[in-house]
């Protein structure tokens, strides 16, 4: 509808991923040994997992030379991921930082 001149006639690879989200979630839980305490928690994590499948698809489009998909972090929101697995503080290099001498790079 958006562009009558160009019409996509083949499915995108990751559409398949989203269509079978439930099966992928079961496989994800088995692979990474994930268990959830309550059904509510399970349902919430499944929602996050589906959002991450869509995110992986977006990343794949932006980063075509890598493969993006399900990882051990697929049941975490981006903020949970940042809070629990990153940890580099904001930085402005100090003015007195010791600068490495310039090395020759020819030959």
């Amino acid at each position: 509808d958006a562009d009558p001149l160009i019409q996509q006639v083949v499915p995108e690879a990751n559409d398949n991923l989203l269509l079978h989200a439930e099966r992928h979630f079961s496989s994800f839980k088995a692979t990474f040994g994930k268990t959830y305490a309550t059904q509510e928690e399970h349902d919430y994590r499944f929602g996050v997992f589906k959002a991450n499948l869509r995110r992986a698809k977006r990343h794949q489009g932006l980063d075509p030379t890598a493969v993006h998909g399900v990882t051990k972090f697929s049941d975490l929101t981006p903020s949970e991921f940042r809070r629990n697995f990153l940890g580099l503080k904001r930085l402005r290099l100090p003015s007195d930082a010791n600068k490495a001498p310039i090395l020759p790079t020819n030959d």
């Binding site: 990474f32 991450n52 995110r55 992986a56 990343h59 932006l62 980063d63 075509p64 030379t65 890598a66 493969v67 993006h68 998909g69 399900v70 990882t71 051990k72 972090f73 697929s74 975490l76 981006p78 991921f81 940042r82 809070r83 629990n84 697995f85 990153l86 940890g87 580099l88 503080k89 904001r90 930085l91 402005r92 290099l93 100090p94 003015s95 930082a97 010791n98 600068k99 490495a100 310039i102 090395l103 020759p104 790079t105």
Partner: protein, 230 residues
Amino acid sequence: LPTDFDWRDKGAVTPVKDQGSCGSCWAFSATGALEGAHYLQTGELLSLSEQQLVDCDHECDPEEFGSCDSGCNGGLMNNAFEYTLKAGGLEREKDYPYTGTDDTCKFDKSKVVAAVSNFSVISTDEDQIAANLVHHGPLAVGINAVFMQTYVKGVSCPYICGKRIDHGVLLVGYGSSGFAPIRFKEKPYWILKNSWGQSWGEEGFYKICRGHNSCGVDSLVSTVASLHTS
């Protein structure tokens, strides 16, 4: 400079570690750099203690508010080198094992096996980064990790990626021509050791393209030199 280079092939890189649910990437990046420097100094590859940094390193950058190292709540590799320099060194992993939680400091100076003699920040020029990698061993680097949550394999080269660095990793090598059919030419890449276990990425490693400070990978690069301890 060699066209391809990898410290893993030369025995300077310990197996991939797992920081667990703890923002201690900075500690793993720092120990990785010192493990490599110690290997270059002594020929012996030792796994060093991140937990010592998590528990005992509260070093601050005096010029930046809130930049103190604080265990699972984050830190900076350069602060960690400063702490290690002042404390006298790091213990072995097995003497001060990783728990992935903040705890009280149990540092025993008599168990120090690797010490820092000096550390420096490296120019953002990629040839200088490569030269320092080859001459001085694996380098502690910061990166924007937004694409790493969904990364599975291959060389990551996002068209758009933030430059605000939020994750500490270890630069262990580079390749000259690994990818880029979509860009119609072979492109070089960096090889980064991560601390999310072997089940993430390419057996714990991440490849990112070289050439244009992709995801801020060139903006915070540090080299450390080891002091020989007997």
